[in-house]
């Protein structure tokens, strides 16, 4: 019998991590540019998730007319757009007013707490406290079973069909092929890193940082190599090591959406005029104003983007967990804050990376700890947060 193991936990952690990363990215924008430690950010996730529910599965919500039920993907996009409008409302109705009054950081913390109470209970008021789900096409997870044996690496795809496990596919690699593919992949990654970082100077802004590009190259080459060198089945009866990785097209979709989101945000921040204005505002608001940056517009964009990112994270969270409830976002607030603080509040990239790190730690941590500690998943994020703050009060990546 094949058991799920560390690699499965890592895969889960990547999915959790990318959801946290999307939340953290939005929170860090608001944190660094609007200078609001936004305690309502978790509830902005919840609002996004429920907006998608209202479009996709309105019968779950008592106060919404049961007229249109859009396919999940369409509903998700619609929810994200509406959430963006909400983001503009938060800015105009609440935060712009307090900014005009030069509210200090503590006041902003408590204002955002007020908004958090409002949003969370607005959802509770409209949708009730029951656990609900999106109406999506359900597909059964595929298990990827990996066996390490004397003759090579065996892979089996299995799927639960009724009470039985059906084997969908099976293939293997000789050890030589495994080593060769890994070596080529690492070499390609190193080469790309050298190539891209050769012209690094103080002035140069990379669209994608060389490190990220190198890791992406390594993964792509490894995947390509694995497809090319695929061989016949390997006897898997008595493996030295075996592990099961639960895979779903859902996970792939979540990772793909997150990746696309990150690239879009990267484009906005680095290649657009607004993005440059945002970064200038984050560095020094008064200087940016002197240079002719329209601060109010930048702030509006920031809140809209933050709400959009929060909605994306919220929808994916609800989909991933197959469960929505009014506390879902607030419960994720701690990991999201942890990610932002770990990554350094002024660095959106640090925040995204921090999100991945926190998500991985949570799922791997739960896997490594005894079963009765599963309720302390959030606590793991918190332990990371405190550990990082104790060592470097400014966050791991600081202002990098």
């Amino acid at each position: 019998m094949v058991e799920t193991g560390l690699i499965d936990a890592v895969a889960q952690g990547l999915v959790t991590g990318s959801i946290i990363a999307a939340g953290a990215l939005g929170l860090s924008l608001v944190y660094s540019i609007a200078e609001v430690p936004n305690f309502a950010h978790g509830d902005m996730l919840t609002v996004g998730a429920y907006l998608a529910l209202a479009l996709n599965n309105p019968s779950e919500i008592p106060f919404v007319p049961n007229a249109v039920a859009l396919p999940f993907a369409v509903a998700a996009v619609g929810a994200v757009v509406v959430a963006g409008v909400f983001g503009g409302i938060y800015e105009k109705a609440v935060f712009a007013r307090f900014r005009d009054k030069d509210a200090d950081l503590i006041t902003m913390v408590i204002v955002s707490l007020g908004l958090a109470l409002f949003l969370q209970n607005l959802v509770l008021f409209l949708a009730g406290s029951a656990n609900v789900t999106y109406d999506t096409v359900r597909r059964v997870n595929v298990n990827v079973d990996v066996y390490a044996t004397g003759s090579g690496l065996g892979v089996e795809l299995t799927q639960r069909a009724g009470a039985d496990l059906a084997t969908l596919d099976a293939w293997g690699y000789g050890w030589l092929a495994v080593v060769a593919v890994l070596a080529v992949a690492v070499a390609a990654g190193v080469a790309v890193y050298r190539w891209r970082s050769a012209d690094t100077g103080y002035e140069r802004v990379h669209f994608v940082s060389p490190r990220v590009l190198a890791v992406a190259t390594t993964l792509a080459v490894a995947a390509g190599g694995a497809a090319l060198t695929r061989g016949g089945t390997v006897a898997t009866s008595n493996p030295a090591f075996s592990t099961r990785i639960g895979v779903s097209w859902k996970y792939g979709a979540i990772l793909a959406v997150m990746l696309a989101t990150m690239l879009c945000m990267n484009y906005v921040l680095k290649r657009t005029k607004t993005g440059r204005a945002m970064r200038a505002t984050a560095d020094d608001q008064s200087l940016a104003r002197v240079r002719g940056v329209d601060i109010d517009r930048v702030q509006l964009v920031v809140w809209v983007l933050a709400a959009v990112l929060a909605a994306i994270a919220g929808v994916l969270l609800g989909w991933y967990a197959s469960n929505l409830n009014p506390n879902m976002g607030f419960n994720l607030l701690l990991p999201v804050f942890a990610a932002v603080i770990v990554g350094g509040i002024d660095s959106p990239y640090g925040a995204a990376l921090g999100g991945l790190l926190v998500g991985l730690s949570m799922d791997v941590g739960v896997y490594l700890l005894p079963a009765e500690f599963a309720t302390y998943r959030t606590a793991i994020a918190f332990v990371i947060l405190v550990a990082v703050l104790l060592v470097t009060p400014e966050g791991l990546w600081g202002d990098a």
Partner: protein
């Protein structure tokens, strides 16, 4: 439940949360520490008090303890009460030590990091208490809460008439004293503002009264009540301050509610029952002074002592250093004050007060479980403190009274809606609290009373002693 019982229960809750808020005010109002985990010490206080006084091997309790302190002290006169005080003291010490553990790493952080780490620690310890049955019985909570002297209640002085006379007299005296203080404060109010406040009170009472009859009157009644609020606002606009007209309005509405409602439901005897609210005619054979009223008395005494204690703390050079930390920590530090030590002490003192409130809460409610200690309790206390005016101890009393009266008072709305909407109504209430928090911070960030003035016990001008 009779009106008087409801009033007693509400006042007890207000007292408990006032004590809790006084602790928060030391941290947040005077020192500027945004402790979003304040409820942690309330929970600690409640559990420690209960477990220390819990009998050994209490039924359906699988946590640590009980330590059976009342049984240990049973030989001492008033041993049960003494055990309870010892338990409260232990709870305060435990909470102070816990906040020391929490504070040493977190109080070096920026204020926003402190807020999130404090919230995190409180959330996680709440999860621990909820999930670990070996600790304090997990989600099943603790019954068998030790209620000191409960066996002596209801106190009866022999006959119904004597009870009515004595306790009734005390009740009336209390009401008269409060009425005197309010009147003394309101006296001198602008006459037109007073007239408008009175008219507003009439409109609000009539409107709400009509709405309570139900049917088609609901909408009209609510409209009349809203009109009353508008009149009140205009009346306040005419006066030179909002305090006096508002106090007058509040007093009139209270009188109408306290004496008017029972008149319509129970007739003159209802009015009498409201007047002698500290006397419960249904308790025991001859009526008497109930345990709930005793707990209220204890809670009010705790608040009085804590209020005095907080005032003494902040009206001193020590309090001056605390406030300078709130304003700008670099200044006292540059002047040679060890600000970190002050922040830790402020945290410990505030947490100890929260623990005392927790102990009182447990005694009042007689059953505790983790659902009573959610993060919202902290946020409510922040709202109450901000309503009254942060860094104002009297403001905490006023703010907590306003907050919990509105919070509890709006529960009567539940009666007019089908029970399946209870969640909705509760959510609506908290939504409005969130809005209230933002509105107050925007329009009147200093709260109803503003920041208090300070006196270190030395008259400033002459440099002479004034205490």
């Amino acid at each position: 439940m009779a009106l008087a019982d409801f009033l007693v229960s509400l006042l007890t809750v207000v007292s408990v949360y006032t004590l809790f808020g006084l602790g928060l005010n030391i941290k947040y109002g005077f020192t500027g520490l945004v402790d979003f985990g304040h409820v942690l010490y309330f929970m600690t206080g409640a559990y420690v008090t209960v477990v220390v006084t819990l009998p050994v091997a209490a039924t359906s309790y699988e946590g640590i303890g009980g330590f059976a302190l009342p049984q240990l002290l049973s030989g001492v006169p008033l041993g049960g009460l003494l055990a309870w005080f010892v338990a409260i003291f232990v709870a305060m010490v435990v909470a102070a030590l816990l906040s020391l553990l929490v504070g040493v790493p977190t109080l070096r952080l920026r204020e926003d990091y402190l807020a999130i780490t404090a919230l995190g620690i409180a959330t996680i310890l709440h999860t621990v208490v909820n999930d670990e049955r070996w600790l304090f019985n997990g989600p099943f909570g603790v019954r068998d809460v030790h209620q000191p002297l409960a066996e002596a209640f209801p106190v009866s002085l022999g006959s119904f008439l004597v009870n009515l006379a004595v306790f009734g007299l005390v009740s009336v005296l209390v009401l008269a004293y409060i009425g005197y203080r309010v009147g003394d404060y309101v006296y001198g109010v602008d006459l037109r503002a007073a007239a408008m406040a009175a008219a507003a009170a009439v409109l609000v009472v009539a409107g709400l009264g009509a709405a309570a009859l139900g049917g088609a009157l609901v909408l009209g009644g609510v409209l009349v009540a809203v009109a009353g609020v508008v009149v009140l606002a205009r009346g306040i606009g005419r006066a030179d301050g909002f305090g006096r007209p508002l106090a007058l309005f509040t007093a009139l509405v209270f009188v109408a509610w306290h004496f008017g409602t029972p008149f319509f439901t129970a007739g003159p005897s209802g009015v009498l029952a409201s007047a002698v609210w500290l006397f419960d005619p249904t308790a025991g054979a001859d009526g008497g002074f109930t345990y709930g009223r005793f707990v209220l008395l204890v809670a009010v005494s705790f608040v009085a002592v804590a209020y005095w204690w907080c005032e003494r703390t902040v009206n001193s050079p020590y309090g001056r250093v605390l406030r300078s930390i709130r304003e700008d920590e670099d200044v006292p530090e540059a002047l040679g004050k060890r600000t970190f030590r002050y922040k830790v002490q402020s945290m410990m003192f505030g947490s100890a007060l929260a623990a005392a409130a927790g102990g009182l809460w447990a005694t009042h409610i007689a059953f505790i479980d983790p659902t009573q200690f959610i993060a919202d309790i902290t946020f409510f206390a922040f709202t109450a403190v901000i309503i009254g005016g942060a860094a104002n101890n009297r403001g905490v009393v006023v703010g907590t009274a306003v907050f919990w009266t509105l919070h509890t008072g709006t529960r009567f709305l539940n009666d007019y809606f089908p029970t399946e909407y209870a969640t909705q109504l509760a959510a609506l209430r908290v939504m409005l609290i969130g809005v209230l928090l933002m509105v107050i911070l925007y329009y009147r960030s200093e709260g109803l009373l503003g920041e208090q003035t300070y006196d270190t016990g030395v008259a400033a001008e002459e440099g002479g002693r004034s205490e």
